[in-house]
Symmetry: C2
Subunit: 230 residues, 2 copies
């Protein structure tokens, strides 16, 4: 992964070193604190501002945004190597269920031969990985995203991609369990068959059951009553 440590370190520092009104240390102070030039700090701040995490007011200062964190922010953080709160992962899985169950249904109508071909390739790759005793994180993502791609809705695909970016650091753990990987793979095969038969109802049902497993897993991981994160 390409990690922008200054970006995440800076973000963390801003959150813990902002005054009551959300004003953060100045660019010059930040530069000195991190031992880099002002230019570096400004580059990171530009990203943070684009993410709407921070607002730079000319001749005044840098202020933390009161807005809730955006998906962009979450995705960018995840991409920068910052592990996300498990509760966010759980919430993401709940969302994935909504998305992907519907995607399975739409895919039955819209999937083309190209999609089926990709799915077969992915299933073959999964089989190989399983035989080699390796995890399926990558293949799992590819399989699910290919179904979303089959909806022919590019925004749909973009949005779902983010979910996998966010879970990137956790999925390998999930798939470290050989039995779970095997079961997941077999469910994929059945989903593929339903898609091929263009049986929307079956595909939906299978996808629902499939994702239920993941949901339970993460629910168990966060434990107790789920509290929404700020």
């Amino acid at each position: 992964m390409k990690e922008n440590s200054l970006l995440s370190d800076l973000a963390a520092h801003l959150f813990s070193n902002s005054s009551g009104n959300g004003r953060t240390p100045s660019e010059r102070e930040l530069a000195e604190h991190f031992g880099v030039s002002r230019g570096q700090v400004r580059e990171a701040l530009a990203i943070l501002e684009a993410m709407r995490i921070v607002e730079r007011r000319a001749k005044s200062g840098i202020y933390l945004t009161t807005t809730e964190a955006s998906v962009e922010a979450m995705a960018l953080f995840a991409r920068a190597g910052v592990p996300l709160d498990p509760i966010l992962i759980y919430e993401t899985v709940e969302l994935r269920k909504i998305h992907e169950i519907k995607a399975a249904e739409l895919a039955c109508d819209r999937a083309t031969e190209e999609n089926y071909e990709h799915l077969r390739d992915i299933l073959a790759a999964s089989e190989a990985k399983l035989s080699a005793g390796e995890g399926l994180a990558r293949e799992d993502r590819d399989f699910h995203l290919e179904i979303v791609r089959a909806t022919k809705n590019s925004v749909f695909h973009r949005v779902c991609s983010v979910y996998y970016v966010m879970g990137e650091h956790r999925l390998p753990i999930y798939f470290a369990d050989a039995a779970r990987s095997r079961r997941s793979h077999e469910e994929h095969i059945r989903i593929y068959e339903a898609l091929l038969a263009r049986d929307g109802n079956l595909a939906q049902a299978l996808m629902s059951a499939h994702l239920q497993g993941a949901e339970s897993y993460w629910k168990g991981l966060i434990g107790g009553p789920a509290k929404a994160a700020g």
Copy 2:
């Protein structure tokens, strides 16, 4: 809106001035072309790189990413003031339908008094705007997002926020039609009542019908057979 014209201009310029292998002009050339310093170009490039639109290879050059544009990219572009392709808006509406119909159902289970209070405030504000002959773009967004918020799934809210960011420049046009605004407002009221009665099925149905109107509108706007954008 806070527009970062350099960001969008630069992005456009990169797309039309990249060589076969995706390599773009150098930072120095870009700086000269836009009449700004290298620092400005680097700030914009940092954002473009965070959006995964561009890849900066040390001592080599800047290359366009082959990956499909991410939601982050779409959102950031929209926020930077770049109008999106109508087809993307249409795809977004299709997605919103999936999301928000389910959100309406979940909200019936999870909405708190606070959510209901906000919804009432928003409806009151809408009424005021309508009386004043003004459009409802902002209130429409607030209403829909409040329902999503009522699901108590923060990721859900973040994702849906993006949809509205992307449509930001088009919504005012949609709501410029007084009759449409009025009808939309009345549908909101009925949805609110269903939520209050915690009638999941009714809320879903009403939301579905409500969004169908928007979907038809955009579908008519793009006209002809929809082709997926790269």
